[in-house]
Amino acid sequence: MDITTEIRKIVGDRLSVSPSELYCYSSDASQVKGMPDYVVRPKSTEEVSLIVRLAYENEIPVTARGAGTGLAGGAVPVGGGIVLDMSGMNRILEIDIDNIQVVVEPGVIQDALNDALKPHGFFFPPNPGSSAMCTLGGMIAYNASGMRCVKYGTTRNYVRDLEVVLADGTVIHTGSKMLKSAAGYDLTQLIIGSEGTLGIVTKASLKIVPLPKTRKLVIASFENAEIAGQAVVKTFSNGVIPSACEILDRVSLQVLKRYDPNLVLPSEGDVILFEVDGTESSAREAAEQIMKVCVPLALSMSLAESEKEMADIWAARKLVGAAVSRLDPTKSRIYVGEDVGVPIKQIPELLKRVQEIAEKFDLPAMKYGHIGDGNLHLALFIDVLNKDEWDRLNKAADLVHRTAIELGGTVSSEHGVGAARAEYMKAQWGPALEVMRAIKKTLDPKGILNPGKLGL
């Protein structure tokens, strides 16, 4: 059987086997590489089902891909085979305000959904830095979150129902429009974060929430990142839950200022951005409480209330990860060891240990991230033309991952495991990994769905 002909019968010219096209789908934003044999851009659940069935019958690996903004190689076809580029299935099928939910195809861009919801006064809260281009399907597959997770939770908290194509092409629904259900295993939650290893999401019903009336931003700077971490712990223990709580160390600040010199940010220290939202009075009260908590610890503090000022800071913050080259054009940020997380109380310790690791390997480091939920994005940057720097980088990243596990944390808080962090799954999960393997074997006995991922 000629696979190319068979695929073409299903999707027509939305198949490519051009070497250049295949190369474009051989990586994401991580360092993982893997060349596909076919790239397919399906338009419907039926097409996905037929392609997967064809792959099942012929034991060809199938890797689903959204926008390819992943940082762990999750969408990289390390076993070759078919890449399903789901970004063309990008319709918002229903905005059901009465049931406070939406039904979307997996290729819908996160920002596009929120643009569509804004006139209704609602939003879908999980907002990764890549919200301008990442797809909801990718967010579901990796349980993505972002800056507002500290108050609003992760993608996992917003999925009511998924339409999933299983390994043999069978199409199932994992839930309904119901707010709750006590009937059977929660397959929705099983699929979320499974990185395309158990099935391929072709539709999703997502819970939405009302937009807050107002937001305010407390910008506090501290002598060092450890003290900044202590301020965060104290804020929480005083009963305030910010809607975002981000750390930007001094290197990150320099990068941001290069990116946008007009940003109103402190010129010294390591900074925490505490965003609060709600009604005018509740947000003001929360902001004042945070400032009170931070007084004994902070070098400086300010309150941003204008929408434009806050929007500019958040827009720059979203892009800081890739903007390191603005500081030194010979250096590039490499996404490794970039997504560890620890229990909130361990944050000061993690910040200290991560800094020591960067110094030990003599690598410039930028530390930023969702400190409010224990998630630190460490940005190590190197000259990509220097092999020695690559070696040191990989050693440092390895140590960062092991440190997070040692502190009771995770190697990935929101970017996923993919192939990049697969080797740490045993250390993080112990015997629970065998349970995951058993589930995988049951749902995908031939191992065609995104092989080589999650350490399975």
Partner: protein, 375 residues
């Protein structure tokens, strides 16, 4: 690129290049960290949907060539379909400049003998006829014999007409020169294509010859300032010719001389489309707006200035991939606000593409607006 075309590439196999090393500044390529931010803005990707039609895909393909993949025609649908609009560079957090990288890669591909037929035709037209259309008429056909004979041989100011205004929109050239003559501006005795089409599509060596010819002409006239009404000519004369040239765009010149022009107010509303090579590439945003607002009401498009969407006409895409090019123009027309009488722009290439996209609102060049206010 059309899907049909992709299919053919796949099935007919690759035509490999001459065995020459593909080499460009590696750092400029490795600046791309593959974050994919460009997916949210690349207009060609928006129209085509394949990763290779996006900036990140182009950078990846160029990386693969640097890492030893032999250049072949297989890369062309990706690398030849970039309009070099530069919105990716404006948004790139890592500070990469993909249009520059793409142009450098195209130049290497030309050296390796990997080009599209459209590219070759364009080059041949410029080299043989001195214009991008292969037009055999005199470049000054829009002037009468008498007018031509009266052109000053020497002047400090020269109006660089460009291929488009010379051959496709001679009425723009007439109106522009009509205004500029009041200020003692002359024409080059033998202007040729500015070389933009050659530079954008990788024919750097051929471009050198054309630029040399035009420079000699400029020296002959003794001009220190070149005025041009084409965004493509403007960026080329300003950024690819030697630095001692002072180049001003027509909107900048008009904005500087508003008082002397004595324009009357007109009772209508227009919107303004920022040409990529005037706006994003050279930051000429305010001058055209100043001129428009001196004449009538300006209502802005949905995406303007740094965020303006490309009309699809640049980078050789109009010639090489007309379907994609027009798709971009149609998308750009969706940014036009309701209730405007005209869409004004200051680039003949944008005028043509936006007109061809077939909207209901008339697309005019800024010189036509000014001419209405003078008449």
């Amino acid at each position: 690129m059309k899907n049909e075309e992709r299919k053919n590439e796949n099935e007919t196999g690759e035509k490999n290049s001459k065995e020459l090393p593909f080499e460009i500044d590696r750092r400029s390529v490795y600046k791309c960290v593959q974050c994919g931010t460009c997916r949210s803005v690349c207009p060609v990707f928006d129209a085509v949907g394949w990763e290779s039609a996006n900036t990140r895909g182009r950078m990846l393909i160029i990386k693969s060539l640097l890492e030893g993949r032999p250049p072949s025609e297989d890369v062309l649908p990706s690398l030849a379909s970039c309009t070099t609009c530069g919105i990716c560079a404006a948004k790139c957090p890592a500070g990469a400049n993909p249009p520059e990288v793409v142009e450098a890669a195209r130049a290497q591909l030309v050296k390796c003998g990997v080009t599209t037929e459209a590219q070759e035709n364009l080059k041949s037209a410029v080299i043989t006829y001195g214009n991008s259309f292969g037009d055999t008429k005199s470049r000054k056909h829009w002037l009468s014999e008498t007018e031509r004979s009266k052109l000053p041989e020497k002047s400090e100011y020269v109006y660089f007409v460009g291929c488009f205004d010379s051959y496709r929109y001679p009425e723009f050239a007439k109106k522009t020169f009509g205004i500029l003559q009041r200020f003692g501006v002359t024409l080059l005795p033998d202007e040729q294509c500015c070389a933009s089409p050659l530079l954008r599509t990788g024919f750097t060596e051929d471009a050198e010859k054309v630029m040399k010819h035009n420079l000699e002409q400029i020296r002959k006239v003794g001009a220190h300032t070149i005025i041009t009404s084409c965004a493509g000519c403007y960026t080329t004369l300003k950024n690819n010719y030697p630095e001692e040239l002072r180049v001003i765009s027509l909107p900048e010149f008009l904005a500087e001389h508003l008082e002397e022009l004595n324009l009357k107010k007109l009772d209508f509303t227009v919107t303004y489309h920022d040409p990529c090579h005037l706006g994003r590439h050279n930051k000429v945003y305010n001058a055209p707006r100043k001129v428009i607002q001196a004449i009538c009401t300006l209502m802005e498009m949905k995406n303007i200035k740094e965020n303006a969407r490309c009309c699809g006409g640049g980078g050789g895409v109009r010639t090489g991939y007309p379907d994609i090019s027009l798709e971009l123009a149609r998308t750009r027309l969706k940014d036009v606000p309701e209730g405007v009488d005209y869409i004004v722009t200051s680039c003949p290439l944008c005028v043509r593409n936006l007109r061809d996209a077939g909207g209901d609102i008339e697309v005019i060049d800024i010189v036509e607006l000014v001419a209405m206010a003078i008449e």
